[in-house]
């Protein structure tokens, strides 16, 4: 544990990157997942098929492979994020951070989409029909009637997808982002005699973060419970 205490600033900074990766890709995944689910349940067959294909393709690909694609294959065909160069405080957001965010977002949106779809399916068909009957267009039906109820019903599965995302950020460790897992590898390599303590310290860090996410999810679940 001494090693962890000695380099506490580095450890916190590393967890900072983990949290930032989680927050940025989490927000984009929620947006992406919502768009995907709207395509999936919408009346336009082409969009439905396209979203279904995308979900099947990306959800069935290992996250590591997605990372590999954006780190090594995509630059070869001209897709890169070298233009990203933002520095806030001691945190750097460069091509590596962006690559990680893009990979995590594209991957997690598929899970968010499916979680939300389970929520949409939980909304009785009569609700959508009633909304159509009073003359709402599709966007109105979705944004005013179906999605609010769907979000409410799908808080637990979406929270699961986000918790998985939080832990999946560790894949970025070997793609250029010094987040918690990368920092852990640095420390176990330098302090071979303290591996146990280091592992436990980082495990606790992740558990605390996941608990925070669960707590937030629990709050939403209570607040949105149908009275």
């Amino acid at each position: 544990m001494d090693a962890v205490l000695e380099s506490l600033p580095d450890v916190f900074k590393a967890f900072g990157y983990t949290v930032l990766l989680f927050l940025v890709s989490g927000v984009f995944s929620l947006i992406g997942g919502t768009i995907l689910v709207a395509m999936r349940v919408g009346p336009i067959s082409v969009l439905d098929k396209a979203a279904a294909t995308y979900v099947t393709l990306v959800r069935n690909t290992p996250l590591l492979a997605v990372f590999f694609f954006f780190s090594f294959a995509a630059p070869k065909i001209g897709i890169n994020f070298k233009w990203v160069d933002v520095h806030i405080g001691t945190f750097d957001f460069t091509s590596f951070f962006s690559t990680a965010v893009v990979s995590l977002t594209l991957y997690t949106s598929t899970f968010v989409c499916e979680a939300l779809r389970s929520g949409v399916n939980a909304v009785p068909l009569g609700q959508a029909e009633a909304a159509r009957a009073i003359g709402l267009p599709f966007t109105g039906v979705m944004s005013q009637v179906v999605l609010p109820q769907a979000f409410r019903a799908s808080v637990p599965p979406v929270a699961s997808a986000l918790i998985a995302l939080l832990k999946n950020t560790s894949v970025a460790a070997v793609f250029g982002v010094i987040e918690a897992t990368a920092q852990m590898k640095v420390m176990t390599n330098n302090n071979a005699d303290e591996r146990w303590g280091i592992f436990i310290a980082f495990a606790i860090g992740y558990v605390v973060l996941v608990e925070l996410v669960s707590l937030v999810a629990g709050t939403f679940e209570r607040r949105w419970r149908i009275a």
Binding site: S71, N80, V174, I178, K185, A192
Partner: protein, 295 residues
């Protein structure tokens, strides 16, 4: 009819695969010739005696560092300076180091070198294993048999001549390695990948300014990508590369030290260095002073 056709296809496929296997001939490796010791004799009760009697040994080496420890896909005999030093040690036990049924060269990545030694999965580790006090708390380390320093690998057209030209710039190395810590201490921004070859890729496509690790490893990659990459700067760290062994058998230290000193005297050490690292333009250094073993 269909069944016969399937059978023919399966047979054809099998044939093609077996032919492909035949095509995989051994690559031409310049490794040092070592003589298997005929009169290996050790005191009873030592680990060396046990290994010599059993006639088998497991050695941990790197698989992804050209010039030091590198294994081509599908080959079971890695090549490199570390591997050649391992062969010298194995041969002194009276075991034929070229016989892979007796000597297993197991890949040890940076993270599992200590656990593998502690669990007895390997008897020796020669995997660009720098000697540090923390590591000596959990495993034995004899040597050093090589002293190297960290340098920079940059594109051929880069103006950078050392760490001072790359302040605040991103440099790549392997996640978790000491090289990244040193780069940070020098004022560069560390970026970690899984293997060195991925870093080389990132330098080649211009995502990072440079890659940093031991000069010997960089020289190997510079030679592989001649005209595109070059090694620059004076070494800004000192890595003392040694041999790892289990703390349960401290008697191995003296044997390793004596064998390596012997290899230096009869020229095998220099021969191994030239065969593996000479081509990349590194001059053969003097044999380093080895640490005394605790008795």
């Amino acid at each position: 009819m269909r069944f016969i056709r399937t059978k023919a296809m399966v047979a054809g496929l099998g044939l093609a695969l077996s032919l492909a296997a035949c095509g995989d001939a051994g690559s031409d490796t310049e490794s040092v010739d070592v003589e298997v010791s005929e009169d290996a004799s050790f005191d009873d009760g030592t680990r060396m005696k046990e290994l010599a009697d059993a006639g088998t040994i497991n050695v941990g080496v790197k698989y992804d560092q050209p010039g030091l420890g590198f294994n081509e896909t599908g080959s079971d005999m890695p090549t490199g300076f570390d591997v050649d030093i391992a062969k010298i040690l194995v041969a002194s036990l009276g075991i034929d180091p070229e016989d892979t049924s007796k000597v297993k060269y197991i890949e040890t990545i940076s993270d599992n070198r200590e656990p593998f030694l502690q669990e007895g999965k390997v008897d020796l580790v020669l995997a660009s294993y720098s000697i540090t006090d923390e590591r000596r708390q959990v495993v034995g380390q004899a040597g050093p048999y090589m002293v190297t320093g960290q340098q920079l690998l940059v594109p051929e057209d880069s103006d950078a001549a050392g760490p001072e030209d790359l302040q605040g710039k991103e440099v790549c190395s392997v996640t978790g390695s000491t090289s990244l810590d040193n780069a940070k201490a020098e004022g560069m921004k560390p970026v970690g990948f899984d293997t060195y070859s991925q870093c080389v890729d990132k330098v080649l496509d211009g995502t990072v300014e440079a890659m940093t690790t031991d000069g010997t490893i960089l020289a190997g990659y510079a030679a592989q990508n001649e005209g595109q990459l070059k090694v620059v700067g004076d070494p800004f760290s000192e890595e003392r590369i040694g041999v790892g062994y289990s703390k349960d058998s401290p008697e191995m230290c003296q044997w390793i030290t004596d064998t390596l000193e012997q290899a230096n005297e009869d020229g095998k050490w220099a021969e191994a260095f030239e065969a593996n690292l000479g081509a990349s333009g590194v001059e053969t250094p003097d044999f380093p002073e080895m640490d005394a073993c605790e008795s």
